[in-house]
């Protein structure tokens, strides 16, 4: 039995009602997959796939939130509807978090009707990708033209869901030290657009040149990765930024591989979660008190014990 009226939520999401969208995200954002989550995604899935998903990543303090404020404002002014998902860290000690990105986007939120939702990562890496992507699907089904995911990517991506985005923007700023070092560590190959933010700062043109030079030495596909300098307070560089986003949208729209890659990833996430739940309950069943006491009293080491449990399990399976 479901604890929540998911039919009502699904129809609310499809009608674009803010309250239903918000409640649906509350349900699917939980890293523990619930039957309600499944029900909601099943209900909306056929209405997804229309939005253009932007993944914006970069080191902390680089100006991503301010950038998204400006970007969502300008996209709205051009007649697009925009939703923002900002992922922030939870404390591994208390589980608490301060979700502060909103403050930097307040103007675009209140004046331009941009929908924004903050998600805390809840100290979990497993299950997080699924819950963030499920939230994207909710927003997609609700009919937003652009969905912007903001994540902190401090090197080796801790949140690979950003790779599911149609357009991946990597943001850097001058004065970070060795620019290329920052780019090399895993996010280089994935960017569709490079932004050097805070162009009013000293050293900004050197940072631009550094990245351009780096790109000149890398093998590029059909899409030529642009490097754009921006100032998120004045809006400098944003016309070009937005026109590149639009042209990348047209570029990926023609590419059926994007769709296929995404579906493969969605299936993988769903399967991982389903199997993890099965495995967890199976482990709870197998690691029962009697078995443990027996093994401990006979001083069986954990590997031998695990092997014999697994052997019993596999032989009983083949006997069926």
């Amino acid at each position: 039995m479901l604890l929540l009226n998911t039919d009502r939520i699904v129809s609310g999401v499809l009608a674009g009602e803010k309250q239903s969208i918000a409640r649906a995200i509350s349900v699917v954002e939980d890293p523990r997959l619930s039957p309600e989550s499944r029900q909601i995604i099943k209900g909306i899935y056929n209405h997804t796939g229309k939005a253009h998903v932007l993944g914006i990543t970069g080191p902390p303090g680089i100006g991503k939130s301010t950038m998204i404020g400006m970007l969502s404002k300008m996209l709205s002014q051009k007649g697009h509807s925009v939703a923002v998902l900002a992922v922030d860290a939870s404390s591994p000690f208390t589980g608490g978090s301060l979700l502060g990105n909103r403050i930097r986007m307040q103007e675009s939120l209140s004046k331009f009707g941009v929908y924004m939702r903050s998600l805390a990562n809840r100290g979990l890496s497993g299950g997080l990708s699924r819950s963030v992507w499920d939230s994207v699907m909710v927003l997609d089904a609700a009919g937003f033209d652009f969905i912007i995911i903001e994540t902190v990517g401090a090197g080796q991506a801790d949140l690979d869901v950003v790779y599911l985005a149609d357009t991946i923007v990597v943001v850097l700023a001058p004065g970070l030290g060795d620019q290329i070092q920052a780019i090399k560590s895993g996010i280089m190959e994935i960017a569709d657009i490079y932004i050097v933010n805070k162009m009013d700062r000293e050293g900004s043109y050197i940072a631009l040149k550094d990245i351009e030079e780096f790109l000149a030495y890398s093998v590029q596909g059909e899409w030529k990765v642009p490097v754009i300098g921006t100032n998120s307070l004045t809006g400098e560089g944003y016309e070009e930024y937005i026109s590149r986003i639009i042209s990348h949208r047209d570029f990926t729209g023609k590419d059926s591989r994007t769709r296929l890659r995404r579906y493969r990833y969605e299936l993988k996430l769903a399967l991982e979660d389903e199997m993890k739940q099965k495995i967890d309950s199976e482990i709870r069943r197998l690691v029962n008190e009697n078995a443990i006491e027996d093994m401990m009293s006979s001083r069986t080491d954990p590997y031998t014990a695990a092997e014999s449990i697994l052997e019993d399990l596999l032989s009983s399976d083949s006997a069926d």
């Binding site: 604890l3 803010k18 349900v27 403050i103 939120l109 309950s281």
Partner: protein, 148 residues
């Protein structure tokens, strides 16, 4: 549900709380102390910044699907501004978000705020644990209603 009978969908999840100082009031020391205290108590804390309008507070609360809105004012405008927040919630038919208050609120006003559903109304010097306990209780009430 596989894992027992009394399982609630939102059980065990961090409380989500929106802190706001609607109206013209820049005294934010108290609310910033509370933001940290709530975070350290394991809550997911949103701070609306200075000078949001009551409409913005309600809109943010709805979009973020928070459990509790915590309002703070030290400028004496609580009877006008807190009431506006409560009114907007009522207007939108929202009953599954609890509202608590705090600041410099004279005793005679407290009962009037309670009648509007705004509870707590703690003044300066209140122990943090008292506030956290109250918020936790009000969040549980909101969650019950979210399940309907």
């Amino acid at each position: 549900m596989a894992d027992g009978k009394n399982q609630s969908l939102f059980k065990g999840r961090p409380i989500k709380i929106l802190l706001a100082k609607p109206g013209i009031d820049g005294h934010d020391r108290g609310i910033l102390v509370l933001a940290k205290a709530f975070r350290d108590a394991g809550m997911e804390v949103l701070y609306a910044g200075l000078l949001p309008t009551p409409e913005e507070v309600v809109e943010t609360a709805v979009n973020e699907d928070v459990d509790v809105i915590a309002l703070s004012l030290l400028n004496g405008a609580h009877m006008t501004v807190f009431k506006k927040v409560a009114d907007f919630l009522k207007e939108k038919n929202i009953n599954d978000i609890s509202v608590v208050g705090g600041g410099t609120i004279p005793d005679p006003d407290k009962s009037k705020l309670e009648e509007m559903g705004i509870t707590g109304n703690f003044g300066p010097g209140t122990t943090l644990s008292v506030i956290i306990d109250h918020v936790t209780k009000r969040a549980a009430e909101a969650r019950e209603l979210k399940m309907l």
